[in-house]
């Protein structure tokens, strides 16, 4: 694991050096021809996939199962224990019921200016996939705007939309769709 970490550190530095600019990032990855070894090489040779998941963001815990944050985050009585905001169909408007929840998170973030949170936008499976990516982003941005309106620094917020790619519920009915139209507040744990 140690050696893996140093390798991933190196990967991180390399990716940072290459920046988030355009082009230039030619890399080896699984070949179409030549086949043979199936899936395993994919993760290794495509590089980014492995590098990123080891280099620090891994602890975020996707899919709602967050690593324990402790304190009020685990107390079901506290609004901080609620970290998923649900939306109506094709809508990115935050419903009134979730305003107290977001206020509580805003207060926490104001009190902890070093704390960062990722707002993950999601959509239900209906309609086209890229439109749903856009919809998920609009939902995450609506949540960000509410937090910022309460004084949270934009620097504490990160936004990513997964559209319909990471459902919370796998059924294909209205009950599942309701659970999937959401923004998850994923607190980044500083270790």
């Amino acid at each position: 694991m140690k050696s893996l970490k140093s390798v991933s550190g190196l990967l991180l530095i390399l990716t940072l050096l290459s920046g988030c600019g355009m082009f230039g990032d030619t890399e080896d990855s699984p070949t179409a021809e030549g086949q043979g070894s199936g899936g395993e090489y994919g993760a290794t040779t495509s590089g980014y996939g492995d590098g990123s998941s080891i280099s620090g963001t891994e602890t975020q815990g996707y899919g709602g199962e967050q690593a324990s944050l402790g304190g009020s985050f685990d107390d079901p009585q506290s609004p901080l224990s609620k970290r998923t905001i649900y939306f109506n169909y094709d809508s990115s408007q935050v419903q009134d019921a979730f305003i107290p929840v977001l206020s509580a998170h805003a207060q926490y973030l104001l009190a902890h200016p070093q704390q960062r949170v990722t707002l993950e936008g999601h959509a239900d499976e209906r309609g086209s996939r890229e439109y749903n990516i856009a919809l998920g982003e609009q939902r995450a941005k609506a949540v960000a705007r509410m937090l910022e309106a309460e004084g949270v620094s934009p620097g504490q917020l990160e936004i990513v939309s997964y559209g319909e790619e990471k459902p919370a519920a796998y059924e294909h009915d209205e009950a599942a769709w309701q659970l999937n139209r959401r923004v998850e507040l994923v607190y980044q744990i500083n270790r």
Binding site: T15, C20, G21, M22, F23, G24, D25, T26, E27, D28, S29, P30, T31, A32, E33, G34, Q35, G38, G39, G42, A43, T45, S46, Y48, G49, G51, S52, S53, T57, Q60, D90, E125, R126, G127, S128, R129, E130, Y131, I133, A134, L135, E137, Q138, I159, V160, S161, Y162, E165, K166, H172
Partner: protein, 433 residues
Amino acid sequence: MTDYLRNFLLTVLVGIGMVLPLSVQAALTIEITEGIESAVPIAVVPFSWQRLTPGVPVHIAEIVKSDLSRSGYFKTLPERDMLTRPDSPAKVKFRNWRALGQDYLVIGQVTEQRGRFNIEFQLFDVYKGEQLLGYRMSVTDHELRRTAHHISDLIFEKLTGKKGYFNSRIAYITSVIKPAGKKQYKLQVADADGFNPQTIATSSEPLMSPAWSPDGRKIAYVSFERKSSAIFVQTLATGKRQRISAYPGINGAPSWSPDGKRLAMTLSKDGSPDIYVLNLATRALLKLTKSFAIDTEPTWSPDGRNIVFTSDRGGKPQLYMMPSYGGRPRRITFTGDYNARGMFSPDGKWLAMVHANGGDYRIAVMDMKTRDINVLADGRLDESPSFSPNGSMILYASRKGTQGFLSIVSVDGGMRQKLVFNQGEVREPAWGR
């Protein structure tokens, strides 16, 4: 003919009309769910083989037969009904085939010579008693399947006047849940009949929106492998790829210009998702739309002049069209409350889309001249339409119950097929050359 082959054929013949089990190597199984009644009868005689080692590496006539019958245009003669199995023109007795009600006949032979296979085949008009087509080709064993599809293309074009699409490939995304509970996403490329699937990218984070370059050599796609979206362009032959776009926010919906020199895409770096065009050589980035609404899913008209995209600027997702060098977008869909993910047919006459009208999401085509919309299938959650290279068929992702699969429907809606993936989820099909 070996017993094995006879059994195999029997299985195929019993299954005709419902299921064509192709082989265990196929990642996808194809079912014909609706065919055309006026299908033309054609007999494809098993090709004879001359080789030193026993066995037949690839059953060429079988492939040709299943290509032709899957097209919906042809009804192929079961082998057990054949009175003779000629393999050269001199051996053909046309009256035998007339008696069987066949309009056309295909025969062929394969000779192995120093590791190469020399294939010769002929297509005959049974009633006129004349040869319509004759070819001789020399290929390696790796090329046998593709050659069979190529033969299907030649026959199809000769008899229908339309280009064949059998020797083409499809790309699609699969996801499986690994034993540890982690998801694994794969971008795969297979022959159009589902054979020969090859994984070209694997990630534990979502892969999306594969788009073929017009020359069929590259695929652009979206990857979340760094837990944010980025667009990559990967060269199929080498597996090398280049990261094209990784701005903050959305990097999505890549679409190649018809000349392959530019890539339209969706970026949200300035706020709301907008349509951009990236010149791949100069790296110049042109921002096409500037609305505060969602603008996404750009697609080029085949002449490269226009771009159609999805926008909710009017409240609901609808399709808009604008000049590809910039200009005023005009709304082009007015039927239904949801029209998204437009895709032009290669001749530009049709625009396929995901269409909903207060309920199910279905694939529809719009006649670009009359602007009439025709709903093609009766799915509930259909998405990602993509045209066959000849423009006659549309491939899309579909779902019934818990099963996700790919479907193919003819542009007139008359012919339907289902491609069932053997494990996990299959989606976002893109039909390439």
